[in-house]
């Protein structure tokens, strides 16, 4: 940016120019320092849990010298404080560490007391994966973000990856618990959408979130090659009637290793 000459005489006397100067210094340093501090390992505190650990912050310790580690963590707390109060939260990592070789679409499956089921699809689910429609930008961007914040948790949960990293994927119910509000509100919203569209329909006893994986043709495959078969996996189950026992959430998470739903304890911050 081309600037005008520096008018040294413009700074007035009094405390206000000093306050503005200090604020300017802080604001110009903050984004750089806050982003750099994400690479400095820090120890987890209760405030870092529930619902999640930041996915950009490095965790652990960077030194055995306690005062240095502590000072770094206090600085990190200051940056976090300012980022949260002002909305200037940092951490920029789109499409990292990797992007899956399939589209993940959420589906709400309603289970009724009489044993029947009904499905409510995402508005972004392609009717025909081989003939996808062009969509307008911006129009449903917010809803897309909401669903993506859920499906990203299961981006890489294909059979091979789950088999290769069972210790990681056995903890998927913990991820569901950490994000239980996202899951539960989406499932409740889809249930209400179904009930509104079907007046007189009974309320379901369970609503299951299913992730539908639609494989992307691999780079070496021809554009018209048959698509590998889509597959589905439950992610969570929500009980519209409330928790099944005291101390539990009304949500269960699916363990893809043991292939069963796991009851989730209600979040209680230490």
């Amino acid at each position: 940016m081309k600037d005008a000459p520096l008018p040294t005489s413009h700074a007035k006397s009094g405390p206000l120019p000093w306050l503005v100067g200090l604020f300017a210094l802080w604001q110009v340093a903050f984004p750089v320092l806050a982003n750099l501090w994400e690479f400095v390992p820090r120890r987890v505190t209760p405030a870092d849990h529930y619902p999640e650990l930041s996915n950009t912050q490095r965790w652990g310790t960077f030194t055995g010298i306690e005062p240095a580690q502590r000072a770094s963590e206090i600085a990190g707390d200051v940056f976090a404080f300012w980022g949260e109060v002002t909305g200037l939260k940092q951490g920029w990592n789109m499409f990292t560490p990797d992007f899956p070789p399939h589209t993940v679409v959420p589906v709400a499956e309603l289970h009724f007391a009489n044993g029947t089921t009904a499905r409510v699809a995402s508005r972004f689910a392609p009717a025909d994966p081989d003939r996808p429609q062009v969509r307008w930008p911006l129009v449903h961007d917010r809803e897309f973000n909401y669903e993506a914040n859920i499906t990203m948790l299961g981006w890489h949960a294909d059979e091979d990856t789950v088999r290769a990293k069972p210790d990681v994927w056995a903890k998927f119910p913990d991820r569901v618990r950490d994000n239980n509000e996202l899951f539960a509100h989406w499932l409740a919203w889809k249930m209400r959408t179904h009930l509104t569209a079907n007046p007189g329909a009974p309320e379901p006893v369970e609503v299951v979130m299913i992730f539908r994986y639609i494989p992307t043709r691999l780079p070496h495959e021809a554009a018209d090659a048959p698509r590998r078969p889509a597959f589905e996996r439950p992610a969570a189950k929500w009980y519209p009637g409330g928790p099944r026992a005291p101390g539990l959430l009304a949500l269960e998470g699916f363990d893809p290793v043991a292939k069963r739903f796991v009851p989730l304890k209600a979040v209680t911050q230490p």
Binding site: M1, K12, P17, G87, W92, F95, T96, D98, P132, R142
Partner: protein, 312 residues
């Protein structure tokens, strides 16, 4: 204007900051900027906000912010848990009319920002509303919301109403108008951080190193708005787009620092955000990022002389 006519003295508007010691000679931060730059940023941010409100937020407002939909004042209580400082006015306003009232206030403030009515107040009101909606349903958000918060705060601090406003100071001053430069530099640093740190994380990623990440993003049936067009591009083009994006993000501060690469780097940035707006579900991240670029256009070059106005 004839060569013999003396150039009018620049008029400085705002509070020039003071810094301790040698930092008071930090010209890069302290040098004033033409008022047109900040006014253009104000207009661009206001337009992005009105698109965000009118096209993105309003049509699904009830679904996103009511208790019958995905929202409600207590829907995401963990956001406000102990040890964190997130806040939202929507937690204290009644659920029945609070979200609607705050959106109406935000719209009015964005219009005020657009026409330059009290930009300090309207900018702060926009920022307050934006942060309130950002925190009350964080699932709806992406990085564009954090950029939006920074822009509103920057515009509020920037004396962005010195020109191009309903009651413009230029009615009485024909020459150049300058405003404090630090808000522009703060926003510039924020933009650089968005790009450079995105580039760093990508550089560490195997998918970005091979470039295949953009092949899969562009063929994703949800993330891509135009997946039926993606197969027309050769695989190498998808991979190359990943490499170019990483290189451009990492080198952005250097590229804009030198005169001979600045324009190309900025045009590449505009092209990047326009293309991703229309091909990927990045939504308002693209529109607010584009608003940043108003800072880089030399609007002051097209300043019209006004005969008959008083000159010092």
């Amino acid at each position: 204007m004839s060569a013999s006519t003396p150039q009018p003295e620049p008029l400085f508007i705002g509070i020039q900051p003071r810094l301790p010691g040698a930092m008071n000679r930090w010209h890069w931060l302290l040098r004033p900027v033409p008022a047109e730059r900040m006014a253009a940023l104000r207009v661009a941010v206001a337009l992005a906000a009105l698109i965000d409100i009118g096209l993105v937020t309003l049509p699904q407002f009830a679904a996103h912010f009511s208790e019958r939909g995905l929202g409600g004042p207590t829907a995401y209580e963990t956001r406000f848990r102990a040890g964190h400082q997130y806040w939202s006015l929507l937690r204290v306003l009644p659920a029945a009319w609070g979200p609607g009232a705050l959106l109406a206030l935000w719209t009015a403030a964005a219009v005020a920002l657009l026409i330059g009515t009290r930009p300090l107040i309207s900018g702060l009101v926009c920022w307050t509303c934006a942060v309130s909606f950002w925190n009350i349903n964080p699932g709806l958000c992406n990085g564009g919301d954090q950029i939006r918060n920074a822009l509103f705060l920057g515009v509020a601090c920037a004396r962005s109403g010195a020109v191009w406003r309903v009651e413009s100071v230029r009615r009485t001053h024909a020459g150049p108008v300058l405003v404090p430069g630090w808000p522009a530099k703060v926003l510039l640093v924020q933009l650089v951080c968005v790009y450079v740190f995105s580039g760093v994380y990508k550089l560490l990623s195997r998918g970005w190193q091979t470039g295949y990440v953009m092949y899969f993003v562009n063929h994703d049936l949800e993330w891509c708005l135009t997946p039926k067009l993606s197969p027309y591009l050769p695989v190498f083009a998808h991979r190359a787009s990943a490499w170019v994006a990483v290189a451009w993000e990492l080198l952005f501060p250097l590229l804009i620092a030198f005169r001979f690469t600045r324009a190309a780097a900025l045009w590449l940035g505009v092209a990047f955000h326009v293309i991703t707006l229309f091909t990927l579900e990045v939504g308002h991240f693209a529109t607010y990022s584009l608003a940043f670029y108003a800072l880089f256009v030399p609007w002051e070059k097209w300043r019209r002389e006004r005969p008959g106005l008083s000159r010092p």
